[in-house]
Symmetry: C2
Subunit: 599 residues, 2 copies
């Protein structure tokens, strides 16, 4: 039996029933597509996952990349992945047709990306990062740069990476010290160290292109002096060849999980011959990078959901097969599958409520991204603001919750779950990275409460309240959904009150006081956002059940309603404690000076 790690039925439910992707094709930008194209994409992505990515899921973990004579040796499957993803147009899926891209909606492209992360997260990172790096060049690079790099990257011959972090400047980009010295030519000479570069200098491609943040000599201090450069490992020569660019890989990190992808440390310009090409204008590097950050953060959230989905289906499959214990304690009766036990069902319901709820929020964000791309005027602006507001939620809620979700998958297996014989222990290790990379959870909390909720005088937040209220109003028309609509309405009122209280605190005491519990605010906001998504899904399910669906569909929709019920009864109540805490605003963590951790 083929291993199941995603549900095609659920993807179709999301794309066609909840978020109506086909309606996007009315806009000129997406008008060349139709449902048939989307179905074919799903088929193709599922096939790639099954034939190429999933078969080496475990082996890529067990045979982790290593440094050999300055080159990072990755699993042989990586070259095949890059080739097939390049040839198949997957790296270019969201790019405009002028770059030979498929110009696909975010919704369908990210569904496919979700399938890939569920099949094999490490493998999915190589093409995923390449697309993001290429996007930076098409957005801000020169015609020459686009011509030199983008076709090779989208074709899968060259790897793209993001090189931001430095030893002395992890989350604090203001403190990067990599320098770029202008020369008489079109390039700068680069000097510095970069750490934690995903998919750095490896042998699964013909070249690796870092999109690097650095400071031009004499630039202003802090983030205002950061510029963006293209720094390839091998630089194109005038003759059309490639030559070394004085980029040295000094380390491959040994990680707990996500081991199939190398995370490297780079040293630049040891021989003073590392050339970097400025992208766009000087000192605008951070702004450029942030334009790409929304996509990266959404991808991280999606990956956390994908990994957790795979763990959930592994646990579900095991729970249905594993015989253990009894409901009727008579030992003469046979044992029952463990899914008969209430506690196992709760563990499974939690996982399902998380993965399908969070995936729904991710699709909601993709829908906004598509509207922003395809629409004009107020509709465009509204979609852009909503997307911007929700990004920290769509990144962090999945990242944080996936730790618990994959842990509960292990729990369904008992002792076996802790062993390498089953995939869930790897899922648990793999997903732990997501609260860290592309901005830690702490940073996302500050982004949400300190920036997003307040931006443009709270305009995005007002749009958001409006969206949720609309969902509540629609749901109220169905008796079965009234209790959930009511719970969400109450939670929304509490959210408004809490947010207003925090804003007032910010006005009176400054942002440090307001942001002291920003991470908890993010938690709190997220629980309500997922409830909103479950209400949307439940509304579709109730409507579908009313028109006599097939038995299989009836089970599917009833399962959706049960999972929504679980969410509203087991998860949403977690807001009660958080609301109480956030109302206190007593600055406890500000008072807790380092010395008081003494003993």
């Amino acid at each position: 039996m083929a291993k199941k790690y995603v549900s095609r039925r659920n993807l179709e439910f999301m794309l066609y029933e909840v978020f109506d992707i086909v309606s996007l094709t009315r806009h000129p930008y997406y008008s060349q597509h139709n449902k048939k194209v989307f179905d074919m994409m799903l088929d193709a992505a599922l096939k790639l996952g099954k034939d190429l990515l999933n078969p080496c899921f475990e082996e890529m973990d067990r045979r982790a990349p290593y440094l050999d004579n300055g080159v990072v040796k990755v699993h042989p499957a990586v070259r095949e992945v890059m080739r097939r993803f390049g040839d198949g147009g997957w790296i270019a899926a969201k790019f405009e047709e002028k770059y030979d891209g498929a110009q696909l909606p975010y919704m369908i492209a990210d569904c496919c990306q979700y399938i890939f992360t569920a099949a094999n997260y490490s493998a999915s990172v190589f093409p995923g990062l390449t697309a993001k790096a290429a996007r930076l060049i098409t957005s801000f690079g020169s015609e020459e740069q686009i011509k030199t790099y983008v076709p090779k990257m989208l074709g899968g011959q060259w790897q793209g990476t993001m090189a931001l972090t430095e030893p002395q400047a992890g989350s604090s980009l203001a403190d990067i010290t990599t320098t770029a010295v202008p020369t008489a030519y079109d390039y700068y000479l680069m000097q510095g160290h970069k750490i934690f570069i995903s998919a750095g200098n490896h042998d699964g491609v013909d070249n690796v292109v870092q999109m690097m943040l650095a400071k031009i000599e004499g630039a202003p201090a802090g983030v205002k002096g950061i510029s963006l450069f293209i720094v390839p490992n091998l630089r194109p020569t005038a003759e059309g060849g490639l030559e070394p660019n004085d980029v040295t890989t000094t380390q491959v990190y040994h990680k707990m999980g996500y081991r199939g992808a190398p995370i490297t440390e780079l040293s630049l310009g040891e021989k003073n011959d590392c050339r970097g090409w400025l992208v766009g204008e000087p000192h605008k590097g951070l702004a450029y990078m942030f334009q790409m950050m929304n996509g990266s953060r959404l991808s991280v959230g999606m990956a956390a959901i994908g990994i957790s989905t795979a763990a959930y289906y592994a646990a579900l499959d095991y729970a249905r097969q594993r015989q253990q214990g009894r409901i009727n304690p008579d030992p003469a009766l046979p044992q029952v599958p463990i899914i008969a036990h209430a506690d196992i069902r709760r563990l499974l319901l939690f996982q399902r409520a998380f993965v399908e709820g969070a995936f729904s929020l991710a699709m909601q964000c993709c829908r906004y991204a598509d509207e922003e791309t395809a629409m004009e005027g107020e509709a465009k602006e509204r979609a852009a603001l909503l997307l911007d507001l929700l990004i920290p939620v769509a990144k962090s809620y999945p990242a944080e919750t996936s730790i618990r979700s994959t842990s509960q998958a292990i729990q369904c297996f008992g002792g076996y779950g802790y062993c390498e014989d089953f995939p869930v222990e790897q899922h648990f290790r793999d997903t732990r990275i997501h609260t860290i990379h592309e901005g830690t959870t702490g940073i996302q909390g500050i982004d949400l409460l300190g920036r997003k909720v307040r931006m443009q005088g709270g305009k995005a937040f007002a749009f958001y309240l409006d969206e949720v209220r609309q969902a509540i109003a629609t749901a109220r028309a169905f008796e079965a959904l009234n209790p959930y609509a009511e719970r969400l309405a109450q939670a929304l009122i509490a959210l408004e009150k809490t947010t207003a209280g925090l804003k007032t605190q910010g006005d009176q005491q400054g942002s440090r006081a307001m942001l002291a519990d920003a991470t908890l605010y993010l938690d709190y906001f997220s629980l309500i956002a997922i409830a909103w998504q479950w209400l949307l899904q439940a509304t579709v399910a109730v409507k579908a059940l009313a028109v006599k669906p097939s038995k299989a569909n009836a089970q599917f929709y009833t399962g959706k309603l049960m999972t929504a019920r679980y969410y509203f009864h087991f998860e949403l109540p977690k807001t009660l404690g958080l609301a109480q805490r956030l109302a206190e605003r007593d600055g406890l963590t500000l008072d807790m000076e380092s010395d008081l951790f003494a003993d």
Copy 2:
């Protein structure tokens, strides 16, 4: 600088200031001890941890045990650990003097065990398990059995193990099928398979002695037919030698963490020559095993706390040294240690509130165990009941919370925490076993709500309420503690109400309905139990601050009060959502049939 992984100051606070271990020495059973002895024990345990256990913490993980020609090869340090723990009297620490034991109170012996688990959990398991296995023999074995096995085990030459689990019977011991056939001699012939045997057949000792559950041919079905046997890997001969006992090690599991200790699969009697010696009476094996289970479960909880403590101190140390970001955003100012950031403080406070709160509950349980051991009559019965009630809490709350706590330690390190360069990723992997072994969290929830809270007409629960109320009454005398006393009093009223509601449901709808959310009840109960412990600690701290302590002590006590404040403001409010959920009693998980997980 030596790595810190436990706080001696906190151990002294617990032993001498909160739980007054010295008062135990008034009882004849503990009268040979005094504070000086306890201090020496702490010194010796800290030294063992520093010199022997901690130096091989990482290496035991990287060089995991493997099967070689039927023998499990463990790290060479294991033999040294067993030798030193045997020679030093650590394995026999809690045993009566007649067995050459030190007859030490649980409180001090378990403090030392906690130090060992913090230093190197895998290494601590070998002597720890041996003591538990030997205890079964001294409690229920014959004089002959005691003479044959116990001195070698307590001396560290022979390893003891527990062999309960079988492939078809994980948590369901009723279904074990290992059989024991009587012979004309004093032994039975054993046939069967056992899995997940910690510290099975390894080369760090001269012999391994399994305490094994099996069924005598023709025994009653279910748990009533289970007997306990001694099954050594090498059996003693009449001539005083050892000979093979037909125990075959068929597998060493590859685990995510806790890798220094081998978990093995055993096959018994492949040549029909595996001899087992019945311990005590036939068919009483499970009752015997359960008598030991309290100790085992307490040890698991303690280990989860120990591992999390080590992770906490690693994170604290890092947070004080790592410079990153600024409070004042001027980039011309130097960066600050990350402990200056509110979110890092919150991550650290969570860890501290957990490890010191849970450790306090563990010490409370040890205190009850000591009172049960040393006292008579009603006092003994009361202590025994309180211990019995709290065991599932003292096992599961640390086991579950340690996953989050070690995860938050990783978070303090950022990307470095995900790499093998720092110990926290190993702590995160190591501690994940604890919600599984010695009874999963689901089983502990059922034990608490289905058995412990109701046993003897609710007598243990009534004693418990009484204990917490006493702590509240004492705290109310101090103005600073009034808000916490009040919060705990409210939570206790809610706990009583919730418990009564569940009991009524049990009476009306049966135990399956009542136990559907038993795991959440366990969560809920635990949060309140830890609040009780923080109120006890805060009361001691307030009193100590009133009498002008030294600067270092003032910081220590103030830190305690701050952490208590954190617990009451950030953790206890989590009971609000749980209380709401537990009041619903709508049987959601019972309704969620397997088919509805369909898609």
